[in-house]
């Protein structure tokens, strides 16, 4: 771990290097979406021509931030980039804020972690707020207005900048029973919600102390979900509004994009460049995750739409002649929840036929709520299906078992199936994913 070593050699290395970044550093924290949001900001900055160094391999502790800066710096200890852009684990925010010159700190959301690493969420919130005094003069705090606990942090910040969603049509009308902060973070009275988007995110107010959702300076309105293909919304900023298209499904990703837009906007990037960066983010098939599972390797390739699916087939499964290149182990997981797209007709727009006529002996396994639909699709492309097991956990276990040691299991899930399979991988003890962008 170069970060650990560098810090042992020079405990002040982070503050020394970050102090030499002409445009300072921005940090993104929160329970969900740190990686995606940070990557979106990185893409926007790239479009805007700003050279930023970031800890893009998911190493989000202070050591990871240090390692990224060390790797970016010349032998003489001068960073090559103009600014730092860091994804920071919630508990590491005070350390990073104390050492790096953070001109901006963004807090996305606070959800209860399944392992509940830091105890009460309120404690995590306090830890984050404790770093605010360490921000340099003129440093700003960006907060999610729709998350009551995160928004309440604005009370400890000098001039907080809020972002939020205003889309009445997405009001689910009910607070999920698993919601993390139903009570007013200021006085503890139950909050009343005007709109609930998901979890505890929404438009709320406290009847007792008057704490209410702050007015967002950056807003997403007119949100239109286009199934797995992407999402459109209108972005409003203090510097003008613009229509935005992202190639990612789900309201979570609207929040990520909105947070990224806020961070970029506060760093002086114009709305047109923000929209272009967000549109170009992710490319055809977004993120590839590689997870080591004992003597086997798992490739998780998110399926977003027919175009992306075709790209994955072309890139990972087919050889130069277009047919299956060599025996592979492939698990396809199709769900039809809202974030995946409820209509699976699009499977018929994917060119599975490109792989047909091969005797490479590839094992196709299918799973997900729509496992049977996927099996029929493959049947009509004349690709043999070894089995269809709708239960995702069971299917992943069996597919891993069927994958010989030293080989790779290609897992092609839709959005919510990916979340489930990722959780299963972690339950099986296969964590520490390695991120790649394609």
């Amino acid at each position: 771990m170069p970060g650990v070593v560098a810090r042992r050699v020079d405990p002040k290395v982070l503050s020394r290097l970050s102090g030499k970044l002409p445009r300072g550093s921005a940090a993104v924290t929160g329970t969900n979406g740190k990686t995606t949001t940070t990557r979106m900001v990185a893409k926007i900055l790239q479009v805007a021509g700003v050279r930023a160094v970031n800890n893009s391999t998911g190493a989000n502790l202070v050591t990871g931030v240090t390692a990224a800066l060390v790797a970016d710096s010349s032998l003489f200890g001068k960073p090559r980039s103009e600014m730092g852009l860091f994804e920071v684990d919630e508990a590491n925010v005070p350390k990073v804020a104390a050492e790096a010159e953070l001109s901006l700190l963004a807090v996305l959301n606070l959800f209860r972690d399944q392992l509940d690493r830091y105890g009460e969420l309120a404690y995590t919130a306090k830890v984050i707020a404790s770093s605010f005094p360490d921000l340099p003069e003129g440093g700003s705090v960006v907060l999610n207005a729709d998350d009551p606990l995160v928004a309440s942090l604005g009370r400890s910040a000098e001039k907080p900048i809020f972002f939020g969603v205003d889309e009445p049509s997405l009001d689910t009308g009910t607070l999920q029973h698993i919601a993390d902060s139903k009570d007013c973070p200021v006085c503890g009275t139950a909050l009343s919600y005007e709109a609930v988007y998901f979890g505890h995110m929404g438009v709320y107010g406290c009847g007792n102390c008057g704490f209410e959702r702050p007015d967002p300076a950056y807003r997403a309105t007119r949100i239109r979900m286009d199934g797995p293909r992407g999402t459109d919304f209108l972005l409003t900023t203090p510097h003008g509004g613009i229509g935005v298209r992202i190639a990612l499904p789900g309201l979570y990703n609207v929040y990520n994009a909105l947070a990224a837009a806020t961070v970029a906007g506060e760093m002086g990037v114009r709305p047109t460049e923000i929209a272009r960066g967000l549109r170009e983010f992710g490319g055809a098939f977004g993120r590839v995750e590689r997870v080591r599972a004992g003597e086997k390797e798992v490739f998780l390739l998110l399926i977003k739409n027919p175009v992306g699916f075709n790209e994955i087939l072309r890139t990972f499964l087919s050889g130069p002649d277009g047919r299956l290149s060599k025996p592979r182990n492939v698990l396809i997981a199709i769900n039809d929840n809202d974030a995946d797209g409820r209509d699976v007709s699009w499977l018929w727009d994917v060119d599975f036929e490109m792989l047909a006529g091969s005797d490479a002996g590839t094992n196709f396994f299918v799973t997900g709520i729509r496992a049977e639909d996927m099996a029929v699709r493959l049947k009509y492309a004349e690709l043999p299906v070894r089995w269809a097991v709708p239960n995702r956990k069971e299917a992943l276990r069996r597919a891993l078992e069927a994958t010989p040691p030293g080989e790779t299991l290609y897992v092609l899930p839709t959005y919510t199936a990916m979340l489930e399979l990722r959780r299963t991988l972690s339950d099986l003890g296969h964590t520490h994913p390695f991120w790649e962008d394609k």
Partner: protein, 254 residues
């Protein structure tokens, strides 16, 4: 014997994976050793019936639909109607289905004339009405000539704003068990006249309802050889896909 799939406006009316219907017919012919050809019939191109055809008319967006209307208003539309009246096999899905009626009214209030195969028309969704979206399970109505046969069911996914109202001279294709159907009001789904079928269901429709695919194929082949019989195929995978959706819908988890 050769069956020709006449894919109408394939490049414009290909929303919602309607290509699955083409693949389904093609494969089920090939697996039985029946020669099959797919012909795309585009804008401005004449229909060339072979005598053993299945015409497929898929769904499109309003913008595309408007372009087709002119193309269909001339001899092409008249010919399609004549083919239907003669017992030719046509399947219209969603937008294609709407254009098989008397007219389709756009949200702007313009009445676009259809081919008139079915005695029906489609009006736009009012601002206070929702789009009709979701999984559908429906029981197909047997024709009089088919009485005594077991009623069949179809599953699919609907996604339409337009409301279709059948006139007195039209037979619905099916009765909705779960879902919205033609207009979300009268419990009917689709329309049928002789060997012409119209429906809002895609998903795609034919892959999960293989008996319907076979019915279209058989109807087309019997126009050439009225004693033609289809060999049965192993439909276990299709049956499982049907059962999975039907079971979910019946349990109220559509």
């Amino acid at each position: 014997m050769k069956l020709t799939i006449q894919h109408l406006y394939a490049d414009m009316m290909n929303l919602y994976g309607d290509r699955g219907n083409v693949i389904s017919i093609k494969k089920r012919c090939e697996w039985r050793g029946i020669e099959v050809e797919v012909v795309d019939v585009g804008l401005g191109e004449a229909i060339r019936p072979t005598g053993c055809d299945v015409f497929l008319f898929g769904g499109g967006q309003d913008r595309e639909q408007t372009l087709l209307v002119e193309d269909l208003s001339g001899s092409k539309g008249r010919e399609l109607k004549a083919i239907a009246e003669d017992g030719g096999v046509i399947l219209g899905v969603c937008g294609g289905y709407q254009l098989m009626g008397h007219y389709y009214e756009t949200p702007e209030g313009e009445k676009l004339p259809g081919v008139g195969i079915f005695d029906m028309h489609t009006r736009p969704r009012r601002p206070d009405e929702p789009r009709l979206i979701g999984n559908v399970l429906a029981r197909v109505r047997p024709l009089e000539s088919e009485t005594g046969t077991t009623p069949r069911e179809i599953v699919g996914f609907e996604n339409h704003g337009g409301r279709t109202e059948l006139g007195g001279g039209a037979e619905p294709l099916a009765d909705v068990i779960s879902g919205h159907g033609n207009n979300g009001r009268d419990g009917t789904e689709g329309a049928r006249r002789l060997n012409s079928y119209g429906t809002y269901l895609h998903g795609s429709l034919l892959p999960k309802n293989p008996w319907l695919t076979d019915q279209l194929v058989l109807n087309a082949l019997r126009r050439v050889d009225d004693s033609f019989e289809l060999e049965p195929l192993d439909d276990a995978a299709e049956g499982a896909a049907f059962a999975s959706v039907a079971g979910r819908v019946r349990a109220g988890r559509g």
